[in-house]
């Protein structure tokens, strides 16, 4: 029983990260229709940059904020240079984001080498007791930040004017233009938002899971799975999907074998893609203009 609780907790922690990355996917997809295969790499860049700055003497929090800002700028550059030229063509867009992911990964290797990098935990390493199971303080940071971010995004998209206008832009880009929105700008902003989300996800999980140059692709795919499960469109959906995936993975690792745990995400992905084809786009429908 205690073991199950332990597994559940670790699943929640990892799942929060998947959820954050998934929300990042959703943000970009909703406005541009492109799935950003480099989403996971934003997380890696954020984390590795924070580590570097921290090691160079910058205190942890400013280092993190700076890293987030840099990743955000990177995302904007990606949108401008690589996505805009091929906006309409889905397959070319996919291949380009793959290329971007590869480049980011390559730069990461050069900048940080191939070894896993550690980051100090935000508030110490003393485990906390929780109904017989132990919890690292960092885990609370992860879950807390994820909840706060997703909650904040929910409030933004559902209850603020600008957030609603973003959603409108995704629902019907043609009508959005008619009320004066600049779709291209919205697209750039959504990329930057996704960059921020990705960077934060990478930073808060770094103290627990060592960050490495190639964690990006796997993280990205799992974030995508979170979206598929939860339905594109609603940040809550992606978050819940991520949690579900994290929990399932943890249980698989605990009771079956840790090697196969990665396969869970991909098998789930295939199951959802095959058995719910077309019905996976969630509540918000992208109207074709």
């Amino acid at each position: 029983m205690v073991e199950a609780l332990q597994i559940l907790l670790s699943g929640l922690v990892v799942g929060s990260i998947y959820g954050l990355v998934g929300v990042g996917f959703t943000g970009i997809y909703n406005v541009t229709g492109i799935v950003n295969f480099a989403q996971g790499d934003f997380a890696v860049v954020g984390a590795l940059m924070t580590i570097t700055l921290n090691l160079a003497g910058v205190p942890l929090l400013p280092a993190a904020l700076l890293a987030i800002a840099i990743t955000c700028a990177l995302a904007a550059v990606v949108e401008r240079m690589a996505i805009r030229p091929v906006r309409q063509d889905v397959i070319r867009g996919i291949i380009i984001t793959i290329g971007i992911g590869v480049v980011i990964q390559g730069v990461a290797v050069i900048a940080w080498g191939t070894d896993a990098q550690p980051m100090p935990a935000f508030s110490g390493e003393r485990p906390i007791e929780f109904f017989g199971a132990t919890l690292l303080p960092q885990s609370l940071w992860v879950i807390g930040t994820a909840v706060a971010l997703v909650g904040g995004l929910y409030v933004f998209f559902q209850h603020t004017y600008l957030g609603k206008m973003f959603r409108a832009c995704a629902m019907n880009p043609f009508a959005a233009r008619l009320v004066g929105m600049r779709v291209a700008t919205m697209s750039a902003i959504s990329f930057m938002l996704s960059g921020i989300l990705g960077a934060v996800a990478g930073i808060i999980i770094a103290p627990i899971a060592l960050t490495q140059y190639d964690s990006g692709l796997q993280l990205g795919i799992k974030g995508f799975v979170a979206c598929i499960i939860g339905g594109f469109g609603n940040p809550i959906g992606a978050a819940l999907g991520g949690l579900l995936l994290g929990i399932l993975e943890a249980f698989a690792a605990g009771y079956v074998s840790s090697g196969y745990k990665n396969a869970i995400a991909f098998v789930l992905l295939l199951v959802f893609l095959f058995f719910r084809p077309g019905g996976l786009l969630g509540e918000m429908e992208r109207a074709s203009s």
């Binding site: 019907n172 043609f174 009508a175 008619l178 429908e285």
Partner: protein, 550 residues
């Protein structure tokens, strides 16, 4: 005369998309060798019906039999193998293939060459390509595209693409041809060529069913016309009978009354000379080789309602989109309030006071009514600065309140339903929301694209009277409508569009009583009517289209 054997039997076919009935209980029979036209106003369900016959869509009710075999559940390629060929509204040649290869592609399925022989290259596959090429060349000669045989299909003109599509469908060995708007976007000369070719196909024993909007074209070709309106078959018979059928006329032009509608336009005379708000000279729009608009000029003066009427495909929507700058165009002049709008973006057009209520409403389905209305203030808020998007200034709050009040007064139902999701509104309510959203931006000139589309007559009347009220409050309106009666009922002036050109203009009163309007929509209806199978001579046809004096 013994009627020919039935080739296609459509029995009580219905198609539902969610709760919406696109086609209901349609039944008719097509006999071998017939030349049959399927007509109906925009949104009537013609292409949907065609898709069920071609196997591209399975009907939700009813059966379809081809040469006595049920085909309603067969996929498109099986339907084609049985002998039905079709073309698409947008012609859609295979752009990366040559003209000859396009036609050859049509013959591949019939040639039935498998994977292994294709890999090996000798034997059956070897001869098959030259055989396909030979047959393709024959067909190309038949339809007159021999000169273009080796050119890439992407360089063909619109008319040539339609011919290519027909040749490609013929290459499949089809006995029944379903043509979706074969004449759309074609010049007069190209249409004549098309008519001749379709006639020769019919003479050769093929059965042809085509969907069309150009009534002159229909008049020249068809022995029989089927009319669809709102998914229901309302007429089926010889051309002269159909054209004078009151149900058909009503479907196209809107309900005609003995006396003009209760709405009378504001008196045309006015003390002060009115400012020209919108001035367009020589506007042209091209879509992929096709001229959607050609040499269009118009003026809209302050305080007027100007109607733009014409059959579907005439270019009315394209014109509004070009003015709203969501469609690229070329024009000698395109100015609003004295300033050129030819090079600015659609968001700036809105900010200058030119609003568009698009065809099909285009509301934000997952936002509620109030949020949709607030979206209409986006341009104004952005003009006041980015910060205004985050937190509206006091002026903005006041302006929004004022606009909301005005809009709720005009459309009380929107106030009632302000918390309801816009996607759950009825058609009429959605249309009101779309208009209200555009009004939130306090435009000087409001353009509306087919507001009556898909709406019941009472709702149409309600909307028209709202537009009338808006005009009396000082708004200028440019109204695009297929429903000529409703539009001319409230307009001051009007322009008639046909095939991308302005063919007539004048005061609403003049146009209302002009028989040329009916002709523009339905073909000739007056004395001197040609016999059912006789083609309308070109001169008379030109008159029927209203290009000459009435």
């Amino acid at each position: 005369m013994i009627p020919a054997a039935p080739v296609l039997e459509v029995e009580h076919v219905g198609v539902k998309f969610g709760g919406l009935s696109a086609v209901s209980d349609v039944s008719f029979t097509v006999r071998r060798g017939e030349l049959l036209a399927l007509i109906g106003p925009n949104g009537a369900g013609k292409t949907t019906l065609l898709n069920t016959m071609a196997g591209a869509l399975a009907p939700t009710a009813g059966r379809i039999r081809f040469q006595d075999e049920p085909i309603e559940n067969l996929p498109a390629h099986r339907v084609n193998a049985l002998g039905i060929g079709r073309t698409f509204q947008a012609a859609e040649p295979f752009r990366h293939m040559s003209v000859r290869e396009n036609v050859m592609a049509g013959g591949v399925a019939a040639a039935k060459i498998g994977l292994l022989p294709s890999l090996i290259g000798w034997g059956r596959a070897h001869g098959a390509m030259s055989e396909l090429a030979r047959k393709a060349d024959e067909l190309l000669a038949q339809i007159g595209l021999t000169a273009r045989t080796d050119d890439p299909a992407s360089v063909l003109t619109a008319g040539q693409r339609r011919l290519l599509a027909i040749a490609r469908a013929l290459a499949t060995g089809a006995e029944l041809l379903l043509l979706d708007e074969p004449g759309a976007g074609l010049s007069e000369a190209e249409k004549q060529t098309l008519v001749a070719i379709i006639r020769s196909l019919s003479a050769a024993g093929k059965t042809v069913l085509f969907v069309e909007h150009d009534m002159g074209f229909v008049g020249q070709l068809s022995q029989r016309i089927i009319v669809l309106d709102h998914g229901i078959l309302i007429a089926d018979g010889r051309p002269d009978a159909v054209r004078s059928d009151p149900k058909v006329i009503e479907a196209y032009l809107g309900r005609r009354r003995a006396t003009p509608a209760t709405l009378t336009p504001a008196p045309a005379s006015s003390a002060a000379p009115r400012q020209t708000l919108l001035r367009v000279r020589n506007l042209a729009v091209e879509y992929g080789g096709q001229r959607a608009l050609d040499n269009v000029s118009l003026d809209v003066k302050e305080g007027e309602i100007v109607a733009l009427i014409g059959a579907n495909g005439a270019g009315k929507s394209t014109l509004l989109k070009a003015l709203a700058r969501t469609e690229s165009s070329r024009a000698e002049e395109m100015s609003f309030l004295g300033e050129s709008i030819a090079a600015i973006g659609p968001d700036q057009v809105v900010m200058r006071g030119l609003g568009l209520v698009p065809e099909g409403r285009a509301i934000f389905a997952s936002l509620n009514v109030l949020d949709n209305l607030m979206a209409g203030r986006y341009a104004a808020r952005r003009m006041a600065g980015i910060a205004s998007l985050l937190r509206p200034s006091k002026n903005e709050v006041l302006a929004t309140q004022e606009r909301l009040q005005a809009v709720y007064e005009l459309f009380p139902i929107l106030m009632e339903r302000r918390d309801q999701l816009a996607g759950t509104l009825s058609g009429g309510q959605g249309q009101m929301l779309a208009i209200a959203r555009a009004l939130m931006a306090a435009p000087r000139l409001l353009m509306l694209d087919e507001p009556s589309l898909g709406l019941a007559p009472q709702v149409v009347e309600e909307i028209m009277s709202c537009l009338d009220r808006l005009r009396s409050q000082g708004l200028t309106i440019l109204l695009v409508e297929q429903n000529a009666t409703a539009a001319l009922g409230i307009a001051d002036r009007g322009y008639v569009l046909a095939n991308g050109r302005v063919v007539k203009s004048g005061s609403a009163r003049e146009l209302r009583s002009d028989p040329a309007i009916t002709s523009a929509y339905l073909g000739a209806t007056n004395a001197g009517e040609p016999a059912a199978n006789e083609p309308v001579a070109p001169a008379r046809r030109a008159a029927a289209l209203g290009s000459g004096a009435s």
